[in-house]
Symmetry: C2
Subunit: 77 residues, 2 copies
């Protein structure tokens, strides 16, 4: 069974990586990009008996830094 975890920076947190991407896009001649935020996508392949609660616990303990990051869990087949 596969689960995807999306980790994104919270609103007010500065994102130097995103800014660097934005500047690089401008340098390459792409215009019209007003903001870029960089996040993480973590794909877990796990046994079927791993519960939603366990995955949320993984996010809180390891995958996301909940002080500055939000996470979203998406289970699939």
């Amino acid at each position: 069974m596969k689960t995807r975890v999306y980790v994104t920076l919270k609103g007010g947190v500065l994102d130097p990586q995103g800014k660097a991407i934005q500047n690089a896009l401008g340098g390459l001649g792409f215009s019209g990009v007003n903001d870029v935020r960089a996040g993480k996508l973590i794909e877990l392949d796990h046994d079927d008996d791993v519960t939603d609660a366990a995955i949320e616990e993984m996010c809180k303990k390891l995958l996301a830094n909940t002080v500055i990051e939000n996470f979203r869990i998406e289970r699939s087949a």
Copy 2:
């Protein structure tokens, strides 16, 4: 307008970051996780007149390394 770009490693490519996450999860006592793949999530906030083709070009030129990575574009409102 917002667009999300998901960048993931291609199938055969080794993923040391994912392996490290998997080992750390095991060390924290989470069992049943068989594989972890780490990818990137890039959120672009751009003008409405930026075309799909332009975003695909951004992915190919900067956001993804198409030799080892796949990308998926998801436009939203």
